[in-house]
Amino acid sequence: MSKKLNISDLENISSQVRRDIVRMVHGVQSGHPGGSLGCTDFLVTLFFSLMNKKKSFSMDGKNEDIFFLSNGHISPVFYSVLARSGYFNIEELKTFRKIDSRLQGHPATHEGLPGVRVASGSLGQGLSVAIGAAISKKLNNDSSIVYVLLGDGELQEGQVWEALMYAANNNINNLIINIDYNGQQIDGPVDEINSLKSLNKKFKSFGWNVIESNGNDIENIIKTITEAKTILKKGLPVVNIMTTIMGKGVDFMENSHKWHGIPPNDEQLNNALNQLQETLGDY
């Protein structure tokens, strides 16, 4: 994929990815549509416009930007974006969560799916792994960037704060942390379950430069990551708190934790697909 794609191209890809997400989750009647839909614009922009990556996948990811998904339950968006950006055939999306598939419920390296570099699903672990990969790049004199995405509910895991403390103290400045700040988790609003209170202040007190952005606005995503890279160039660590709408793009799923982890029925699927234009051809 080239960087010549404009905003409208990226929006078209996002529409197709959203169709993939609801169809995959409907097809197996299991999986997590809410967070997947919310992070679609971000992942599409990252993979189709922002990341300098090689066409073929190598686990080592040397001299290319690499991405880690820490909140592994949003695997539908990850798989769709990986397939649509050429890591594997889009027909394989049909096998999501089915027996003998490489598209496990949560992302895994075990079956050798191109594009996945570590298993995730048990929350709170991805940032540490991303830090390790970033250090590895530094030791290899590789100037490319490591991206990681975490859920906001996931920030309730203690390991994340161990990792945040370490990365800021050790000036890991080839890593962009992105928080999917949709305010929802399985049991309800994050504020009611175990509030993050002032997340911005928390990060700042840990030594981070904080950018707040809109994760459902492609133009804003591009601007934000460009700004984040400028901060990295100054030698400083950066975190992007990205407000998103859970369920974005499907009106009856938007803004509710209820669609965190349940699939649409046939009627709901048709309703959703009527709201999402088929731009690249369904799998």
């Binding site: 686990m59 080592d60 990811g61 040397k62 690499i66 895994a108 390296t109 075990h110 570099r117 570590v118 298993a119 995730s120 699903g121 048990s122 709170g124 672990q125 991805g126 940032l127 540490s128 792994v129 991303a130 830090i131 390790g132 990969a133 970033a134 250090i135 590895s136 790049k137 030791l139 290899n140 590789d142 203690g158 390991q159 161990e162 990792a163 403390m165 370490y166």
Partner: protein, 319 residues
């Protein structure tokens, strides 16, 4: 090879074997990275740290983060060695090891000191006796528990050449050195230390010395014991175990670990599936440890040469 007696002139801690092995392997391979969670001195990692400061990562008291960073370092071709106590290397970070290392098949070497009761005075919070069980249950994990300074050094060097996750377990106390300097360590290959015909004694870690001491007394009593070192608990050298059992028709296993979930159970499975015979497991028995000196604790928890001697007598009666 026939019966052989072992003696020692020097005692040294196995953790120093790790520290010296790490320094050695770090010199030859620039991809070796050492990580430590605030126990650099205890793990004997100071020499590596001083010699290769850019390849030493002080993580602080954050073992979960350390395991994740280690997993990430492998992406880009690094070979990370994590160092902390066995308790904090396993139980504290089991899910991190399971998902980010074992399931993801990352080339991480989890190096764990102060295992077992011979940790001594720090007591049960630190004396893990369940770590072998936890680690051997993880698909794809290699589990190694060397017996003395020299073997620990050799194992530390050997695991760098093996591609895959490894759990390397060693200890705190000064312990007899009775294996050769600069030996070649073969992962998964048991070593027959002394041949015998009446009973097979399979021992791992510090307990190999205890078994060799027991063998001397057994010999005096006219009992011919074959002593075999199972330094690699997984993958288990089934061939060597069964070859010995075919000859002796009974076995005693010795480990500084809970007999529930330890090496003895793995060996029992191999024997019961292939050539059932009487077997007795020597190890701690479903208990936590306590404070004391290493030798007091070995005595208290039935890990002494005398207890091995008695266990052999018992198992012989069942033949």
């Amino acid at each position: 090879m026939k019966r052989k007696e072992y003696n020692y002139t020097e005692k040294k801690d196995t953790r120093s074997g790790f520290g010296d092995g790490l320094l050695h392997v770090g010199k030859n391979n620039p991809n070796i990275i050492a990580l430590c969670a605030d126990l650099t001195g205890s793990l004997k990692m100071n020499d590596f740290k001083n010699k290769y400061p850019n390849r030493f990562l002080q993580i602080g008291i954050a073992e979960a983060n350390m395991m994740g960073i280690a997993a990430g370092l492998t992406i880009g071709g690094k070979i990370p060695y994590t160092g902390t106590f066995a308790n904090f290397s396993t139980g504290r970070v089991y899910d991190q090891i399971r998902q980010s290392i074992a399931y993801s098949n990352k080339n991480v070497k989890i190096c764990a000191s102060h295992a077992g009761v011979t940790l001594g005075e720090d007591g049960a919070t630190h004396q893990i006796l369940e770590d072998i069980g936890m680690m051997k249950m993880l698909p794809g994990m290699t589990v190694i528990n060397p017996c003395d300074y020299n073997q620990t050094k050799a194992a530390t060097i050997a695991i760098a050449e093996y591609n895959g996750p490894v759990y390397l377990r060693f200890g705190r106390p000064k312990w007899p050195i009775f294996t050769k300097e600069n030996q070649k360590f073969e992962i998964g290959k048991a070593i027959v230390f002394s041949e015998g015909k009446d009973v097979s004694i399979f021992a791992t870690g510090h307990m190999l010395w205890q078994a060799l001491e027991a063998e001397k007394e057994l010999h005096k009593s006219g009992i011919s014991a074959e002593v075999i070192n199972i330094h690699t608990i997984k993958p288990l050298d089934e061939e060597t175990i069964l070859k010995s059992i075919n000859k002796t028709k009974c076995a005693v296993t010795c480990e500084e670990h809970n007999i529930i979930g330890g090496m003895g159970e793995s060996i029992s499975r191999v024997i019961s599936e292939n050539n059932p015979c009487p077997i007795k497991l020597v190890g701690t028995n479903d208990t936590f440890g306590q404070s004391g000196t290493p030798y007091e604790l070995l005595e208290k928890y039935n890990l002494s040469p005398d207890y091995i001697f008695k266990s052999v007598k018992k198992v012989l009666k069942k033949k």
